[in-house]
Every structure is written in structure tokens, then in C-alpha cells.
């Protein structure tokens, strides 16, 4: 076990997808989907990962579960290296770290009724058929689907919210320690989202779970997370407690992200989007800081080298931006940000 209740450690994780093309199907370029991501998940917390589509959030989740093989880096669960694990160990690891998938439609086998779908995970780990079904019924009831009523139904007979409950049940059935939630509510209506989020919060409380919660919806992240991690083009740009990051976002990207979330107050709504254009092509990211092409504070230095993720202030606040590092040249954009008010 590692110090002060860290349950999952991700260290310098990298995944480059080759882009093949041409007559001979050769590797022509690489998409740097995840490029040097490091963070820790503490026992019992909800760590939110935010970012635009394509910033590497889901890839990170799949790398942690070893559904994809990383090109470099390490993932440690309870101090053990998952990436070097033998098949038997990997199976035990996957039992403890489960995932809820984004699409409630394609994540359930259309030819399997939901009780079999949930029981399958238990069967895989060596329980008897009867015991597996009983355990599935237990968990289905726990997520609010009465097993007597729903157990034999097929996915197409359920609504999106009900399917997502089945997905959660399938993750819970193995009694895991950590659940990775990959945009679990983004394809549901707002009212159903709230139900599912409340269910997730209750389950976490009752079962002492740890969540790695991936979303592009800032409201959802703020509502559920203890700590937030902001990703941009495969890298972490900011990390800190949920309150601190939402109250005083430091990185220009995080600031733009929070400014772009529609406010509940109609008078505060923006006329123009805070960020123009699309993120750059990850096959050919900008030199230095990857955000500099869209950053209002970009400096010469930003094009030269990429800023490291460094601690800012006293609390556990990390940001990868030259605006907050000592290396910044005097007289830069520093003064118009009023750093002392931010922390």
C-alpha cells in the first residue's frame, strides 16, 4: 500500500495511435492521444476528468484498465504495477477496477437479458450459475431495477436511464474498489441524468467506492467531484480541488472552459464564445504549449518549450502554464491576471 490512501497511481502514461495510409499501408503519422499523463486517485474520492471531445479522457480510462496497451508509463493499483501484471493478476485487478461505459445502447449485448448480462461478470470469476444470478438480482435491486420485474428483459425493452443502471449494476456486481465512469450520463436527458448521478452518489456512500469520473459537462463534474483534472490534447493542464478550480480557474484553457459553460443566470450569459476555433490536429500538435494557438496570453516562450505541470500556491493546485511559473520573463501577461486573488 502506498502513502496516505492513494489507491491508483498513473505515471507518465502515453498512447500514440499510428495513422496508416498510402499504398503500402505504412505508418505516416502518430496521433498523440495521451501524452505524458500522471495523477493519483485517493481512496474514497471522486476525481473528475474534464476536457473537450478527443482530448484523451476515454483513452486514459481504457489505458488504466489495460483495454488498450500503453506505449509508455505505469499504472499502479494498491502499489502493484498493472501493466506488468500476469494474466491471473490482471483478472483480479479488473475485478477491483470496473468501468461504466458511455453508450447505454452498444454497451449491452442485445441478445442477452439483463440478469444474464450482469451475472456474466460473476460467472467469469468462478461462481456457480445459480449464485451468479442471485448476486445479479441483489445488485439490480440495489441500482433501483426490481429484478423480478426487469431481470428477464432484453436491453431494447429498457429506456436509456434503465440501461445505464444495468451498466452500473454490471460494474458493481464484482464488488470493485474503483469505478471508472466514462461519460455515464452524457447520453441521457437532464432529469434522468440527475437520477443516475444521485444513484451514483448514494452507491459511493453506501459501498465506500472511489470514482474516476470522466465528463465534458462541467456542471456534472462540479456536482460530483472532490478533485478535478483538466485535459487538453492528451495532456493535463490543471489539477486541483473541485471548488478551487471552478471558483478560480488558473490555466487560460480552464478559464475558457468555465466561461463557456452556460450560466444559470441569464444576465451573465456571454454574447461570444470565449474560445474560437477547434483544437489543433493531434497528429501535428503545436510546438511547446499545445494551447498556445488558442490562448489569449500566449508568449514567445510558449512556442519554444512545453510548460511542466507545477504546483501553484499552498494548496494542491497544479497548473501547466508559464503565467504561473518563475521562468516567466518580467513584464509579461502576468499582471493582468492578478494571481494573488486567484489562489
Amino acid at each position: 500500500m502506498e502513502h496516505n490512501g492513494v489507491i491508483l497511481t498513473v505515471q507518465d502514461l502515453r498512447k500514440y495511435f499510428p495513422v496508416r495510409g498510402g499504398l503500402l499501408h505504412t505508418v505516416q503519422a502518430q496521433v498523440k492521444a495521451v501524452d505524458g499523463v500522471s495523477f493519483e486517485v485517493r481512496r474514497g474520492e471522486v476525481l473528475g476528468i474534464v476536457g473537450e471531445s478527443g482530448c484523451g479522457k476515454s483513452t486514459t480510462a481504457r489505458l488504466i484498465l489495460r483495454l488498450l496497451g500503453p506505449d509508455a508509463g505505469a499504472v499502479r493499483f494498491d502499489g502493484r504495477d498493472v501493466l506488468q501484471a500476469a494474466p491471473v493478476e490482471l483478472k483480479a485487478f479488473r475485478r477491483q477496477v470496473q468501468m461504466v461505459f458511455q453508450d447505454p445502447y452498444s454497451s449491452l449485448n442485445p441478445r442477452m437479458n439483463i440478469e444474464d448480462a450482469v451475472a456474466f461478470n460473476v460467472l467469469v470469476h468462478g461462481a456457480s450459475r445459480r449464485a451468479a444470478r442471485a448476486r445479479a438480482w441483489d445488485v439490480l435491486n440495489k441500482v433501483g431495477l426490481r429484478a423480478e420485474q426487469f431481470g428477464r428483459r432484453y436491453p431494447h425493452e429498457l429506456s436509456g436511464g434503465q440501461r445505464q443502471r444495468v451498466n452500473i449494476a454490471r460494474a458493481l456486481v464484482l464488488d470493485p474498489k474503483v469505478i471508472i465512469l466514462d461519460e455515464p450520463v452524457s447520453s441521457l436527458d437532464k432529469s434522468v441524468q440527475a437520477q443516475v448521478l444521485n444513484l451514483l452518489q448514494n452507491l459511493k456512500h453506501d459501498l465506500g467506492l472511489t470514482y474516476l469520473f470522466i465528463s465534458h459537462d462541467l456542471h456534472v463534474i462540479e456536482y460530483l467531484s472532490d478533485r478535478v483534472l483538466v485535459m487538453y490534447l492528451g495532456q493535463i493542464v490543471e489539477m486541483g480541488s473541485a471548488e478551487a478550480v471552478s471558483a478560480t480557474p488558473l490555466h487560460p484553457y480552464t478559464q475558457a472552459l468555465f466561461a463557456s459553460a452556460p450560466s444559470m443566470n441569464p444576465d451573465e450569459r456571454l454574447e461570444r464564445p470565449p474560445l474560437m476555433g477547434d483544437p489543433p490536429n493531434p497528429i501535428n500538435p503545436p510546438s511547446g504549449c499545445r494551447f498556445r494557438t488558442r490562448c489569449p496570453h500566449a508568449m514567445e516562450q510558449c512556442a519554444a518549450t512545453s510548460p511542466a505541470l507545477l504546483q501553484v500556491g499552498s494548496h494542491e493546485r497544479y497548473v501547466a502554464c508559464y503565467l504561473y511559473s518563475d521562468q516567466t520573463a518580467p513584464g509579461s501577461a502576468m499582471h493582468d491576471l492578478q494571481t494573488d486573488e486567484l489562489i
Partner: protein, 304 residues
């Protein structure tokens, strides 16, 4: 700490003990399919007709009132309803009913066997191509594409022309004709199913490749392939008869519906009803196979 799997087993065991009474037996997939089929009248009718045709072909030696090759010059081209020749006689005075019964054997064998062979070979190739992917997929699918360059009837004629006439060669030719389309369907279905999130979810639960293939892959892949293959049976019956009609399939004096249609061609103005009988049999068989496969597809698709 990494727990061992006995934890889950124990957990499931306690859950089992806490439940009152036995956990009810759920309706399995095939029970559901059967239940749906029973409510589909058209499919049941097609199945009944098909069963009648198959049984009469199998039992031909017991049902036929006359020997199928025994002709009589005096009784040539008797009309329908002639005493002792209910369905008339053909141009050599052979009993039509007997020849239709015996002809069904040849036509059914020539129609169904190639599709079975092609189903086995084609779905194996397609599933391997889809599951393994990469260069192997490229190799298999490009070879399949070459066969697609020829229309199926033309390809069948070319192959049986090269191999020579006879039932065996017809079956070989038709099998070769039907492997490519089945392989292509199998490949696309496999690739599609492989990309679904539930396959990834199964992997994330710690299941091994074999368990995933058995529980999540097979039903999702084989159902659409077998439905597609069953629609090919009607085509196969028609092409097999067509080959015989052209003289490339079963050779005289054997009875086969396509061949009979050809030999009775000359009598169509003299005795049109009798001359049409083999065609009616081909039509009924082909139609029944088609309706049955449609009904099976509907019954097997749990999403409908």
C-alpha cells in the same frame, strides 16, 4: 490488496442463500424464438409446405405409384386427372407424380447442400477475417471480391461447365458460388460486433477470449449469417434447376425438376398444365424457403 476470486464466489453464495425460494427459470433465447414462431401464421404455413415437400421427397419410393423411369409410348402426354396417372405423363409416357416425387430428392439435395457447405466454409472464413483483421482480412476479403466480379449464375455455369455434368459437380459449383457472399456478410457482422462496447465491457470484467466469443460473439454473429444463408437456399434451388435445365446438372433419365422442365418444354402447347408442374414445384419450394427464412429472421431478432 488484490483479492482472489473466491471473494466473489462467496459474495454470490450469500446472496443466493438470502433469497427466498428458488430463482425462477428465465425464458431462454431459443424458447423465446420458438414462442414467437408459433404466433407467425405465414411462417408456419411455409414451414408446413416445406415439410410436406421434404417428406414426400424422402419417402418417394413408398409414395410413388409408378417407377420413375418406366415409360410407355402409348400413354405419352396424358392429361391431368387421367386414371392411374393423376398428374398425367411426360413426353415419354412416364408417370409425372412419381417423377416429381423422385425429382424433389435431386432438387432439394442440389439446392440445400451447397448452402450448408458454403455456410460452414464462408462463415468460418468471414469470422476469422473479421476477428483477426489486419493482413489476413485483406487477403481473404480481396480473394472473395474476385468471385464477386462474376454474376452468380454465370459463375455456376462456368464451374459446372468445366467440371462436367452431374449432381456432385453441381453441388461443388454452387458451393463455390455461395461462399463469397456468406463470407462477406460474416466478415462485416463480425467486425461490427467486435466494435460494440459490450465486447469491451466483457473484456474489462476479466473474461477470457474464449468466454467472450462463446457468450457474446456467437449468437450475435451466427444469427444474421444463418438468416442470410437461408435466403440463399431459394436461389440455390433455382440455380441448381437452371443448371439441369441447361444440361449441366443432373443428366437424363434421372428425374430432376429443372431437367423435367426442359424435356417438357416441347409439349407446352400440347399439355401446358403438365409441362408447368416442375416449375410449380420449384416455385413453391423456393417461395417456402424464402418465407421461412424471413419469419426466422423476425423471430430471432430480439430487438424487434
Amino acid at each position: 490488496m488484490l483479492h482472489d476470486r473466491s471473494d466473489v464466489t462467496a459474495l454470490a453464495q450469500t446472496a443466493d442463500e438470502r433469497l427466498e425460494g428458488p430463482v425462477g427459470k428465465p425464458l431462454s433465447y431459443w424458447q423465446l424464438v420458438w414462442w414467437r414462431l408459433q404466433r407467425d401464421k405465414v411462417t408456419l404455413a411455409a414451414a408446413a409446405v416445406l415439410l410436406g415437400i421434404v417428406l414426400s421427397a424422402v419417402l418417394a419410393p413408398y409414395l410413388a405409384p409408378h417407377a420413375p423411369f418406366q415409360g410407355s409410348i402409348r400413354k405419352r402426354l396424358a392429361q391431368l386427372g387421367t386414371p392411374s396417372h393423376v398428374l398425367g405423363t411426360d413426353e415419354q409416357g412416364r408417370d409425372m407424380l412419381s417423377r416429381l416425387l423422385y425429382g424433389g430428392r435431386m432438387s432439394l439435395v442440389a439446392g440445400v447442400t451447397p448452402v450448408l457447405i458454403a455456410f460452414l466454409a464462408g462463415s468460418t472464413l468471414g469470422i476469422i477475417a473479421g476477428f483477426v483483421g489486419g493482413p489476413l482480412n485483406l487477403l481473404i476479403m480481396r480473394v472473395v471480391d474476385i468471385f464477386f466480379a462474376f454474376p452468380s449464375i454465370l459463375l455456376a455455369i462456368a464451374i459446372s461447365g468445366a467440371l462436367g455434368a452431374g449432381l456432385k459437380n453441381t453441388i461443388i459449383a454452387l458451393s463455390i458460388v455461395f461462399i463469397p457472399p456468406i463470407a462477406r456478410v460474416a466478415e462485416s457482422v463480425t467486425t461490427q460486433v467486435r466494435g460494440w462496447e459490450f465486447m469491451e465491457a466483457a473484456r474489462a470484467s476479466g473474461a477470457g477470449t474464449l468466454a467472450i466469443i462463446r457468450h457474446h460473439m456467437i449468437a450475435n454473429v451466427l444469427a444474421p449469417i444463418s438468416v442470410y444463408a437461408s435466403t440463399l437456399i431459394s436461389v440455390s434451388v433455382i440455380i441448381a434447376s437452371g443448371l439441369s435445365f441447361l444440361g449441366l446438372g443432373v443428366s437424363p433419365p434421372n428425374a430432376e425438376w429443372g431437367l423435367m422442365l426442359n424435356t417438357l418444354r416441347g409439349s407446352i402447347y400440347v399439355n401446358p398444365l403438365v409441362a408447368a408442374l416442375p416449375g410449380v414445384m420449384i416455385f413453391m419450394t423456393s417461395m417456402s424457403f424464402n418465407l421461412l427464412s424471413d419469419g426466422l429472421r423476425d423471430a430471432m431478432d430480439v430487438r424487434l
